[in-house]
Amino acid sequence: MSKKMLKEERVQIAKRVAEEFETGDIINLGVGIPTMIPDFLGGKEVYLHSENGLLGIGPTPPEEEIDMDLISASKQPITMSPGASLFSSSDSFAMIRGSHVDAAVLGALQVDETGRLANWAVPGKSILGVGGAMDLVAGAKKIILSLTHQSKDGTPKLVAELTYPNSGLRKADMVVTEKGVFRFIDETMYLVEIDENITVEELRKITDAHFEVSSDLKTMNQ
């Protein structure tokens, strides 16, 4: 798969997740695809929470205005939007743990058919980084997973059962891949939107998780 296609897939995902938000939402964006979401928010005013101590991430600064003491949780230079506030790590995670963040958009290595997710460690490899992943999984009001449907070698990421270490008891509310959009209702996975270039039958072939098809299935990003 060419790099260009991968970029397009990622845009497809970011665009779709962006539709989920309403003006006023407080959102925490994980690394990777989620960082592309702000470009697709249109007119919606949402507030981006950065767990290293800021509410109100603004646009990326031009090179000459970069201050590496004003950075995102991905350690990228940022600016502050009007009304932004600064606070310490414990205050920042009090917001997350206390369920004051409306949605966390996270990447995932795997998600199972009930919504349980794995996004911090690979079995057999060193477990040396977790960051704020588990805090966000446990605390955000809504968990949206944004990931490519399969790994580079074609292995499904939407699985019947996790084989990677899970990130908590809390389950995802929604999964967005370049192939479709899934929601969980009572621990059952429903396909609610599908990419126009794939059929449900084809999707099942690249999805290890069992999913129901919504009676109201729509085409994605249209």
Partner: protein, 230 residues
Amino acid sequence: MDKVISPKEAAGMVNDGDTLLVGGFGLSGSPLSLIDEIVEADVKNLTVVSNNLGEEGRGLGRLLKKKQLKKAIGSFFTTNREAVRAWADKELEIELIPQGTLAESLRAGGAGIPAYYTRTAVGTDLAEGKEERSFEGEKYILEKAIKGEVSLVKAVKADKLGNLYYHKTAMNFNPEVATAGNIVIAEVDEIVEPGEISPGDIHTPHLYVDYLVVNDRYVKEGGRYVEKNA
């Protein structure tokens, strides 16, 4: 009541085997001059509690490179290849703690709270060996306070009493770290008279700060701290 000491005097307060609590998120808000001084002081067997180990060969990464560390406790070490290698070679113990739990446990350490319950990490590998308990039908684990012999923090400004003011997101873990050490040393770029930082702008009140050290090795250029003589 002069709290200002030399970086060398500050480093002299760190002993072999100590647990150091260190502020910073990556290199931002990291007490770089103090760390360099400790590298030169040659103490060893240190346990460092900090979100990361700086970067490879920078900040806390230097203590690792010089093999002064026995153990690192924090939330994210994956991007420091030397840490990964040292861990694989069994030269470095690593204890992984979710970032929010790390911040809260440091706060608890400073606030006289020996332990608290959190939902974070329940049911995961990181909850292994931790006590589980339900409140109103939900599961939580017990997390213990974190304390240490010496706290090292970085503020952009202090007044002579030791009140600290942090710059933007360089604040991060520094306010919590400043409360949880037996000895608290703050590295600052500038020291002003009491009253010059207004009462509402003080992030860490002076009762937490034992010593002040002026950053004498790094200057900020193009938004980044660079070594003065590099």
